[in-house]
């Protein structure tokens, strides 16, 4: 198993948006999806997980609706709203930009500076 990675502040919400963008998921499904995509390397703080979901729902970026889960249990499924999609796109762009800049700086060798 690869080394676990700690999430920087605020990125959990981005990841949830991403997870939900692939199709409606219930809360536990989102948790599983993030762990799965990350190759089990993300240790999500359980407490903050639902806080993030509630906040996203409140802001209108995801919306919840009750439905049936795969094993016929009632569960609340979240899907991305149009505002959420825009937010995800903006956040992704910002993140990629920032990562590229930081990576470029850190990637420089002594001679290149």
């Amino acid at each position: 198993m690869a080394k676990p990675v700690e999430l920087p502040q605020g990125t959990l919400e981005m990841l949830i948006l991403k997870a939900v963008s692939l199709g409606p998921l219930h809360g536990y499904g989102i948790l599983l999806r993030i762990q799965q995509i990350s190759g089990e390397r993300l240790e999500i703080l359980q407490g903050s997980f639902y806080t993030a979901i509630y906040r996203l729902e409140r802001r209108g970026w995801i919306k919840g609706a009750w439905g049936e889960s795969e094993n016929n249990r009632r569960a609340r499924f979240y899907s991305l709203t149009a505002a959420g999609a825009r937010q995800l796109k903006a956040e992704t762009a910002k993140w990629t930009d920032m990562a590229a800049v930081v990576a470029a700086i850190l990637g420089k060798k002594t001679g290149e500076i």
């Binding site: 359980q46 639902y50 993030a52 509630y54």
Partner: protein, 896 residues
Amino acid sequence: MSLLAAIRKRWRSIAPRNSNDIEEEFRSTLQAYQEDLMRQGLAKEEARRKAHLDLGRPSAQNETYRRAIGLRLFDELGGDIRYGIRNLRRNPGFAAVAVLSLAIGIGATTAMFSLIYAVLLHPFPYAGADRITYLFGFDEKRPDAFSFVTLSKAQFDDLSLAGPVESVLGFNPTQMEVTGGAFPEEIASTYLTENAGAFFGVRPLLGRNIEPSDAENGGRSVAVLNYRFWKRYFGGDPHVIGQTLEINHAPYTIIGVMPRSFAFNDLAEVADVYLPFSLISNVPNVNYVPWIKLRPRVTPAAANTVLEPIAREMAKRDPGRLPQNWHLALKPIIWTFQENTGRTLTLLLAGVVLLLIIGCANCSILLLARGRARRHELAIRSAIGASRWRIARQLLVEAVVIACTGALLGVAASYWLAKLPMVLSPDSFPAESFIRINAPILAFCVDLALLSGVLFGLVPALRLSRGDSARMLPGRQDGGVAAPGKRRWSLLIAAQVALTLLLMATAGTAIHSFLGLLRTPLGYDPANVMRLGIILHNHARGENDGNQSREARTAYFEQLREKIASVPGVFTAAVATDATPPYSGAENTFEIDGASDHEQPQARVTLVDQRYFAALHIPVLQGRVWNADENTRGDFIAVVNQAFATRYLSSSNAVGRQLRIPGLIARNRNQVASAQSTTWRQIVGVVGDARNDGLDHPVTPAIYLPYTTLLRAYEQFFVHTQGDPLAYLQSIRAAVASVAPGQTLSNSNFNGTLTLNEAIERDAQYKSQRLFSILFGVFSAMALALALVGIFSLVAYSVAQRTTEFGVRLALGAPRRHVLWVAARIAFVSAVAGIVIGLAVDSFLGAVLAHWMQNTFAATSLMAAAALLALSALLACLLPARHAIIVSPTEALRYE
């Protein structure tokens, strides 16, 4: 339906999810996680445990949710408020005292504010009321004597065209009669120029107001009713529009009813009906009382330019009638009330604010004292992690809960309180202003409640939240340790006592000067004398009475007088014209025989009959009073008062001197003068000085003349009876009716039935002094009660806290007197300090107060107030302190 649905949808989109929903979702997540764990090989019970451990408890989830969406602060505040209310309910005694302390202050302050709002800030319902002005004439020699100036038709028309003037309303108040019934009924009517509807901008309650079209054909016979008259005469009949009202034997069609707030106008008295001015505009010499609405943002200087032509014409038309240093000025219609009533209200507002501050201080003291009993609870709160801010916030919220409860009570009380000054001093307020609780007042009250809550809650909150848990936690009371925060208590008590003394001294001054006013020598005896007014019948529009000739009128009045005098129990009946003390006579210039060093001598010309002096017990000092024949003739004779003799005839004997009054002529068709009213008259007697310029002004020189020399369409009868004069009203009415059926006693403001004692009570100075005395008396009694409750509860709490200490002291043989002193010391010393501060402040403020109350600040009443306060403070200290010495030492020490 669609609107409701839309609202519901909108609410659902912003409403937080409910807790069941949150919990169910969380449970399903837990379940899924638990099953996952079981699939990985964990036993069911262990999986459940781990799931709960990793994800948390479902019952706590709702809290997480609310915190996530930012509702936590509200939830906590809600909790604090609920806790505060529970706390109050648990301590009903404390709650009652605290809430009442504030309710008094907030109620009184709100009442005074609503009064100020109704009277000074927003008294008139008219459009652009702050731009409407009266035209006043001022005599520079007597700045407090001003007159309302009336205009002729030409002047009125000119004024309407002046540049700074937006529009002018002309009106003319007249006494009239509703006829057509069994008996004529006297009413007050006011003619209004036909621009009235637009000028007032007040929507009628029913129908319409007077409009320009009503001027057609010399004025349409239409009438608009005043609200009160409509209620009184028509029982508030909603179908009154279109009905006919017979006034002075002419039919008028009712076209409208004005709303309650429309009470135009108290210049003479509020009219019962309003009629188009065109009905009388062709009558010769008709007067227009103008209300001049200036254009917005017109400077006073610009407005005054309209006055010059008026002043010039008045001087030309009537030379010699106007005093020399006389000038015109426009003043807002609120002005006459602003001067005195504004001053009164400001002073009263200051009084209630003091009361509120005292109430707040009281609550602070109570909270501090009770906070000591609550130290245990607060220590636990802070020990389990409550921050100082959190505890302070909770205490503040509790204070605000008390304040809001107090405010609620206070608003209810203020509704009645606000009416008190209006009841005590009705004429000091515009007729249009009436008290209602409205948005600005409610907003004021809520602000006041929050402000006072924070004000009195802050000190205790900061103080009590500071405690460190380690020192405070031990369950036992720290009996002997001197309580921290004593200094704050002392300060609060001292401040409270000082403010109370301020209020008491003010009340003392007010009462002192009111008593002084009551003791002023009047110069006449008001006991068992009443005034009755008779107005001659109106027979047609503007036409007056069938007794036109002077002789017929005199005979009629004399006949009435004899009938009244013959009623059993009536000692004397006298006739007079506008001579109801403490105000009587009209200022006139006169000439006196021989040289006079006075440029333009003036005196009150008072028209009475020869019996007037006996009826009012005004003594004859020199010479004699005229006889019946001289009274009928009216000319050649005069009596003066002592002030006149002293001022104008100082060098010689008054009796036998001659004087004449050039202005004594009939000025309108309702007046009729005797043949030689302006010729020389001989002074036959000097009478004592009876008040004629109000209670607080010295008696002015007066000339008494037989009333028949200038007859009006009304006269007043002064009736001196055995016992209460009002008891004779029925028989006097019958006597009057026996002379002329249908002749009724007048009920108008200036002419209605009134005992002379009531006339004194109507005096402006009397009313304002009485208002101050009563209200400040009430305020200071309340303040005193509050301060005593504060002191009492402080001592009681501290005695309860220090039971052990007193037990030890007593056990070790301390004398009881000493223990008593120890228990009461702090509070009493603070109170005495407060009194000293109060005395210092009072002597500093004395001059200011005296100026505002228009009388001298009495040192004796201040000393009396201080002594009373000290005595009652001592009692308030000793009563609870007594508990310290009835502690039995063994019992007190048992807990040690």
